[in-house]
Symmetry: D2
Subunit: 184 residues, 4 copies
C-alpha cells in the first residue's frame, strides 16, 4: 500500500492513456466493434455496429482491462525497439509459440465478463479476421505480439456483455424484470 501523500492514482489518466495508446498503435474502436459484430451477428441478426461500439467502450472503461492493454502495448513497444532482456526480446519479437504471457494477459480481459467469452476469444485469435490480420502481419517492422491477443480479448468480452444485455432485454420485454433479489 502506498502512502496517499506520495502517490495518488488518477483513474482518468489511466483511461486516457489506454485510449491514446490504442490509437497510436493503429487500433480504432470501430475495428474492435467489427470483430464483436462478426462474433455475434448470427445470434442477434439485428445487432448494429453502433451497439457493438458501445459495448467495446464499456469493456475499455474497466481498470483491469486498461491495465492489461497498457502492459501489453508497453512490452510490444520495447520489443520493437529491441530493449528487452535477451531471450524475452527474441520470444516477443518472434511471437514465439511457447510464450504464453500474451494469452494470459488477454484472459484477464476476457474474464471481466465471465468465462462465456473464452470460446469467442480463442476463435478470433485463431481465425484472425479483420484488424487481426494486420496486427499479426510480421513484415511491417511493427510488433503486436500482445496487442493482437488483447484486441481479440476486448472484442470477445464485448460479445459476452452483449449476451448478458440481450437476455435482460428479452426479460424486460416479457415483463419479468423486477427488483433485485437479495440475500436475507
Amino acid at each position: 500500500m502506498s502512502n496517499p501523500g506520495e502517490y495518488a492514482l488518477n483513474s482518468k489518466a489511466v483511461a486516457q492513456a489506454t485510449a491514446e495508446w490504442l490509437a497510436k498503435r493503429g487500433v480504432t474502436k470501430r475495428e474492435i466493434a467489427e470483430l464483436t459484430l462478426f462474433l455475434q451477428k448470427d445470434y442477434y441478426p439485428d445487432l448494429t455496429l453502433r451497439e457493438c461500439e458501445e459495448n467495446v467502450d464499456a469493456v475499455l472503461s474497466k481498470r483491469e482491462v486498461q491495465n492489461a492493454v497498457l502492459t501489453g502495448i508497453q512490452l510490444d513497444l520495447l520489443a520493437e525497439e529491441g530493449k528487452l532482456m535477451a531471450p524475452l526480446q527474441e520470444m516477443i519479437h518472434n511471437d514465439e509459440g511457447l510464450y504464453g504471457c500474451d494469452e494470459i494477459l488477454a484472459l484477464s480481459i476476457v474474464n471481466v465478463y465471465g468465462s462465456i467469452g473464452l470460446t469467442n476469444f480463442g476463435y478470433v485469435d485463431k481465425l484472425k479476421p479483420g484488424i487481426l490480420v494486420r496486427l499479426n502481419d510480421k513484415h511491417d517492422g511493427e510488433i503486436h505480439t500482445f496487442l493482437d491477443d488483447i484486441v481479440g480479448a476486448i472484442a470477445a468480452a464485448a460479445a459476452s456483455r452483449i449476451a448478458h444485455r440481450k437476455q435482460a432485454e428479452r426479460e424486460e420485454a416479457r415483463g419479468e424484470r423486477g427488483e433485485d433479489v437479495q440475500l436475507p
Copy 2:
C-alpha cells in the same frame, strides 16, 4: 443456442435460487460481509459492516457468481446424500487435497472484479476465519467442500469491489472525476 420457444431463462429465478440456497445451507449475508470487513478493515478503518453487505449484494447479483454458487452447492448436496459416482463421491465427501474443482469454481467468482482479489481469496481460504470454520467442520455430517471456497471467494470479490469504489470516492473528493474517456 436453445430455441427461445422452448426455453426462456428467467434471471430473477436464478438470483432467487442463489439467495435461497445460500440461506438453506446456513450462510447469511452478514457472515460473508464479516469476512470482507476482516480483509479490508486495515486499509479502510472507517469501513462499516453495512458497506460490506452492500458490496456482497453487488457480487451476488452477477450471473457468473450465481452459476458458480448453485453448481457448487449442488455438488455438496449430492455428496451429502451419497449420490455421486464412485471416486468423485469420496473426493468431495472428504474434501480431498488433490481435488481442485472447488478452487476453480471459486476463482471464477473472484475474477468477476479482477485478479486483485486472488490474494484475499487464498488468505481467507487458508486462515478460515468466521463462518469458514463452521463450513469447514468435518464432524457435523454436512458437506461444504465447494461452499467454503465459494463463500471465501464472494468475500474476496466484495473486497476487490470496495478497493475500486474507495479509489473512485477519493478521486471524486479531489474533484478529479470527469466524464468517461472514450476511444476515438
Copy 3:
C-alpha cells in the same frame, strides 16, 4: 485434510473411472486425437494420429484433468436424469449461453500445459469439428453440456504438449539439449 485412517485415495481408481466414464459417454481416445491432429497438422505436417493419441493419454494421466472430467460428466448425467435443482437443471439441460461453469472446468484442463492452449480450445469449441458435432447435438436426449467443452480442452492441451515436445526434438536434433539449468 482427511484422516488417513478413514480415507485413502487411490489414484488408479480415479484414472480408471475417468477412462471408463469417457468410454460410457461415447468418447474414444482416437476421436480426441483427431481433434488434436486437426489443430496441429498445419504446423507439423508429419504428425501422426498415433502421436496425438499418446499425447491425449499423457493429458488424461493428470489428476487435475481426471477431476474435471469426472465432475463434468457427473453434472451432465444428473441433468440427463432431471435430478438437479431447479434453475441449474434448466441451464445445464439447455446448454444455456450465460452459464459458463463448463468453460471454467475446461479451462482448468487447458491450463495443465499452459496458456498457449487457450486459442486452440476456443477454436475447436466454436467450430465443433469431428466428435464435437455429435456431442453438441441437442436432439438425441443426451446432455453433454460439460463433456463437449471437456473433450475440446483435452484436445487443446494435447496440442500444447505436442508444441513443447516438438521444440525439444528440434533442439535435440541440433545437439543443443544439455543437462537442466538449476538456480544456484
Copy 4:
C-alpha cells in the same frame, strides 16, 4: 509462426536466463524452498528443505514458469529505471492496489500444478513471510512489484507438486501403484 530459418529458440538459454535473473534480483532457491516448507510442514512433518528445493527446481524447469519470471522481472527492472510509459510507470513503481497484472502472471505459474495451489499462493502473498518481506520493502529503491508475487507463486506451485508426490509415495507404500490406466 516464425520461419525456422530466422528464429530458433533455445530452451536452455531461456532456463539459464531465468536462473541468472532470479539470482541477480537476490532470490535464492533456498529462500523459495523455505516458503514451500513453511506452507507444507504441518501436513508433512518429515518434509526437508532439500526436498522442497528439488520441487522448486522442477517448477522452475517449466517454460510457462520461465516466461512469467522473465516477463515480470523485466517489468520490475524498467520501473526501477523509470522507463515505462506514464501511468504504468507510476502503477508498477508504487505497487498500485488496483493493478493486477502481477497477480495474473503469478497465477499462470501456480496453475502449472493445478488449482490446488491457489490457496497457498494467496496465503503467502498476504502474510509475506521470509524473503517476501524483503522483496516487498518499498524503501530500498528496488522495485519487486512482479517478483514478490512470482516468488510466492513458485513456492505455492512447489507445494502443490509435493502434495501430488506424497500421495504417489503413500500409494506405492501400500503397493497400489500399477501401470497407467489408458482410455480404450
